[in-house]
């Protein structure tokens, strides 16, 4: 307990520490937000709550890592992971997801949970359970007498995430497929009646989501570490963000993502690194509780 109080007082004594925590948190939160955006996309269009989201991310990371081991420049890993995961996502859609879309929600949740277990275990078998990362030979920027350090690699990671997100958003707004996706999200039956091939839209959306996650994973492996069983943690964080921000609320998703990143770092600082996972899950419960209370006021239930 004294440890905790000591950590908190440190925040007040050295305000710079706050900045460090927030910067660290925001940088990792940007990638959470990316994964959350994909989750919200699939959720909004197909009403499928993909618990395998985090595992797509980790899988993308491994694709990039493995290729880097074969001598490929790490930065190319991002587009390649994007493409590879697109393909994997498409296959998974055709084999599994397409059959659970029209069913009740627990079915799709459980199906993706099963997929999450499979993917995590396959990665474990293929690549072992050690954490992996790609080391980039970039410098670190130091601010405030060395208290706040921003490795250029991480900064690049955040920039790439931002670029990817921008591309996706522009695509959704301007392209025909983007319009078809948004139409289907609003009312699938109407879209079908008007000639949109909803099956294609669903397959595209799911593959796009997998690809976004893959790219995010390729970024993460460069700036942090990956491990086959980290997937569920990312899935939970994506859920927290989408639940907090609501569907179709892009600025909300971004701020929630950054916020969660920062809150987690604060949790790790105040309570100790062993509590980081616990903080993430407790945030989930907190967000659910808050939403519940909001809904209660309107006499609805959270479903």
């Amino acid at each position: 307990m004294e440890q905790v109080l000591g950590n908190i007082s440190l925040l007040f004594e050295f305000p710079v520490v706050n900045l460090k925590i927030i910067v660290d948190g925001v940088m990792v939160g940007a990638l959470f937000a990316l994964a959350a955006y994909g989750l919200a996309l699939v959720w909004g269009v197909m009403n499928v709550k993909n618990l395998a989201q985090g595992d797509f991310v980790i899988a993308g990371g491994y694709v990039s890592w493995w290729l880097a081991g074969k001598g490929m420049p790490p930065l190319f890993g991002v587009p390649i992971a994007f493409i590879v995961l697109w393909g994997i996502g498409w296959v998974i859609y055709k084999l599994v997801i397409t059959r659970v879309i029209e069913r009740d929600l627990f079915t799709s949740l459980l199906a993706t949970f099963g997929l999450a277990i499979m993917i995590a275990q396959i990665l474990n078998l293929l690549f072992g359970s050690d954490t992996q990362s790609i080391q980039l030979e970039y410098d670190t920027l130091y601010f405030f007498d060395g208290f706040v350090d921003i490795p250029i690699a991480k900064l690049l990671g955040v920039l790439m995430a931002a670029v990817l997100a921008t591309c996706v958003v522009i695509f959704m707004k301007t392209s025909r497929m983007g319009q078809a996706i948004r139409a289907t999200a609003q009312d699938a039956r109407a879209a079908r009646v008007l000639g949109i091939d909803t099956e294609k839209v669903y397959a595209f959306t799911f593959s796009l989501n997998a690809a976004i996650c893959g790219a995010a994973g390729a970024i993460i492996v460069m700036v942090w570490v990956i491990q086959p069983f980290y997937g569920i943690a990312y899935s939970i964080r994506a859920f927290v963000i989408v639940t907090a921000a609501g569907l179709g609320n892009l600025p909300g998703v971004i701020s929630a993502g950054l916020g969660i990143g920062a809150l987690e770092q604060y949790g790790a600082h105040i309570f100790g690194i062993g509590y980081q996972q616990a903080v993430a899950v407790l945030l989930l419960l907190l967000v659910l509780l808050v939403r519940l209370i909001q809904q209660r006021r309107m006499r609805q239930s959270l479903q």
Binding site: R297, M298, R299, Q300
Partner: protein, 247 residues
């Protein structure tokens, strides 16, 4: 002439759209009151407000003198105020008798009564009511396999099983084969006279409501447009305009 449901100056909006504005009416105890109005005039919203489906923005709703606008749906139902749904909701996986048995008035049972099996008198009452609505022969069929009209009758029987003091019916004759409507009107009237249940009915079928109601309220654009006996409403030019003008 006591009023069992007292609605005073009720307003409800949904995200900018005003569904009800300053609506006041009272439903006479033991009688049949009608609620009419063109589509979109706020009738179902008012019903939803009364049964506690959503909170109201302004106003007061009293049932048997008690303020209910802040209560949730279950509590209001347990006070004896029930409603039937426009889309007819029944428990599709159970058969008709089971649907009836689950609709026994829970406010009259203690927590430990739930751990008993249903008694033969419960089954008898279910049979009597199913016979009352004409579903006796079909009572062991899965409720989900019944036709729409039969499900409506089942929902009505379930409501009766719950021994309500007042019953809100949302378009009870909608979607029913015209030849069966007379039978339904007859049963509704008997429920009112024999069982003493106050009825408050939303209807689009003018023949039905003019036949049954003691008093009718007409809504338009979320506001109360007119009230009176069936003859008064039929002769009210504003009501005629509201319906014809809406087309």
């Amino acid at each position: 002439m006591t009023s069992i449901i007292d609605i005073q100056d009720v307003s409800k909006s949904y995200g900018g759209v005003v569904a009800n504005a300053g609506v006041s009416m009272s439903v006479e105890s033991g009688g049949i009151t009608g609620l009419i109005g063109p589509n979109g005039s706020g009738k179902t919203t008012l019903f939803n407000s009364i049964v506690g489906y959503h909170p109201i923005d302004h106003g007061s709703i009293r049932f048997e003198g008690k303020e209910i606008s802040k209560l949730p749906v279950q509590q209001i139902a347990r006070l004896g105020l029930l409603r039937t749904f426009q889309q007819t909701r029944i428990y599709g996986a159970m058969n008709c008798v089971e649907n009836m048995l689950i609709s026994m008035p829970h406010r009259k049972m203690s927590f430990f009564d739930a751990f008993e099996r249903n008694r033969s008198k419960d089954y008898e009452r279910a049979d009597v009511l199913l016979d009352f609505v004409g579903l006796y022969e079909k009572r062991f069929l899965r409720a989900g396999s019944l036709s729409f009209g039969q499900q409506k009758l089942l929902e009505f029987a379930m409501a009766l099983m719950n021994e309500p003091t007042a019953l809100l019916l949302d378009e009870p004759t909608a979607g029913i084969n015209p030849t069966l409507i007379n039978g339904l009107i007859d049963r509704l009237k008997r429920a009112n006279t024999e069982f003493g249940i106050t009825l408050f009915i939303i209807e689009h079928n003018m023949r039905v409501i003019m036949n049954m109601a003691d008093k009718i309220y007409c809504l338009a654009h979320g506001r109360l447009l007119a009230e009176g006996t069936p003859e008064q409403i039929q002769n009210n030019q504003k009501v005629v305009d509201a319906y014809l003008g809406a087309h």
